[in-house]
């Protein structure tokens, strides 16, 4: 499943996309994110999945543009820590 967490507003689209088929719930992204945006827990949208999966925490979902801003400077962009930490390549950002 491609889980889009975030929102779209007048200024643009802000989604963190987690491919739950690739995610193995290792939690490396949780440690890598300096702002506590990610967590590992039960798959909310598939009640029959037993294995844990990464997701964006509830309280960051509506302000993700700002939560992720420090990792996205306008110049001198570096690879995102969460994306880099994910060995199965399950995380991507829409902006």
């Amino acid at each position: 499943m491609l889980a889009h967490y975030g929102y779209k507003d007048g200024s643009g689209d802000y989604f963190i996309v987690i491919d739950t088929d690739k995610c193995d719930g290792c939690g490396e992204c949780v440690t890598a994110c300096p702002y506590g945006v990610l967590e590992v827990g039960e798959e909310e949208n598939d009640p029959f999945r037993e294995e844990p999966v990464a997701r964006v925490t509830e309280n960051h979902r509506k302000k993700i543009k700002y939560s992720c801003a420090p990792c996205k400077p306008t110049s001198g962009k570096k690879p995102l820590p969460c994306v880099q930490a994910c060995s199965p390549d399950a995380i991507s950002h829409s902006w």
Partner: protein
């Protein structure tokens, strides 16, 4: 008292053919949304009864009320229901629910039942959010996106416009086509700004129908943009209250160049229906049947 144009009709329905006493599994789903709440009861996986009412300020109370209304005159008591799943915005506030499941999962499951296994893309236009869901032939979510930060393209936005234009909400769809030429959509996507833009157009002398058409096409355009993020694949279905507004649905269809499936059920019950189907599956799991 001034007429409340935004008031949409509440409803309830009971199957004339099903006797709940014959049911091995009686399961229920309650969807407490931000604007409306629904309860659905299934007997052996068949639709037995449902109700659709406005959500009050108190979620547990709304859940209780909508369930009481569904069960009214059916002779079925709440205690006889084997498993209840709560869903929607207030899913954790359903006092008699055995479990809470997200509305994303429930809508996909419900739409699969309502429209059949061919449905792949579901657009749920709810009271205060909008969901784009892609699912497989079993109604399992394969891709989803939810926008609940902005009320543009939602039922509440339509209610605001019903009041502004003094048009009963059920007539808005049809009236939006009473224009000679489709006007330019309003430029604002935000409900508040779209409203002030509409006031400006009315002052300029635009007829109500033309303002409504301009707002309807802006709303359709906005949700089609949202759909673009997930894979839009046939068959396509619209659920939620706005699915009853042909002015929006037809405009979405023409932008997508894809027809939406014709609903056989009340489009507002999709979430509660999906929740009741999950409840049934969970009873079967408990009993070792699956």
């Amino acid at each position: 008292m001034e007429k409340e144009y935004w008031r949409w009709p509440e409803s309830k329905w009971t199957s004339p053919d099903i006797d709940w006493k014959t049911g091995d599994i009686i399961s229920a789903g309650v969807d407490v949304g931000s604007v409306s709440s629904q309860a659905v009861v299934l007997v052996n996986g068949k639709l037995f009864c449902y109700s659709n009412f406005r959500t009050g300020s108190d979620s547990p109370e709304s859940a209780q009320k909508v369930m009481d209304k569904a069960l009214e005159e059916t002779g079925l008591a709440l205690e006889k229901i084997h498993f209840t799943v709560g869903t929607g915005y207030g899913r954790v506030n359903v006092p008699f629910a055995n479990r809470a499941i997200t509305e994303i999962a429930c809508h996909a499951r419900g739409a699969n039942f309502m429209y059949g296994p061919s449905v792949r893309t579901i657009l749920d236009m709810g009271g205060q959010d909008c969901k784009a869901i892609h699912c497989d032939e079993r109604g399992k979510v394969t891709n989803f996106l939810m926008n609940d930060k902005c009320a543009a393209g939602t039922g509440r936005g339509m209610e605001v416009f019903a009041d502004l234009l003094s048009i009963p909400i059920e007539e808005m769809g049809q009236l939006s086509f009473k224009v000679e030429k489709e006007p330019e959509p309003v430029s604002s996507t935000c409900v508040i700004f779209a409203k002030s833009e509409a006031v400006g157009l009315l002052r300029k002398g635009w007829p109500k129908e033309k303002v409504l058409a301009a707002y309807s096409s802006a709303m359709a355009h906005r949700v089609v943009e949202l759909l673009g993020r997930i894979k839009v694949e046939k068959d396509f279905a619209v659920t939620g209250g706005i699915a009853k507004n042909e002015g929006i649905v037809k405009r979405i269809e023409s932008e997508l160049k894809m027809e939406a499936l014709e609903p056989q059920y009340d489009t507002q019950i999709a979430g509660a229906l999906g929740a009741a189907l999950f409840a049934k599956a969970l009873v079967e799991k408990e009993r070792g049947l699956r």
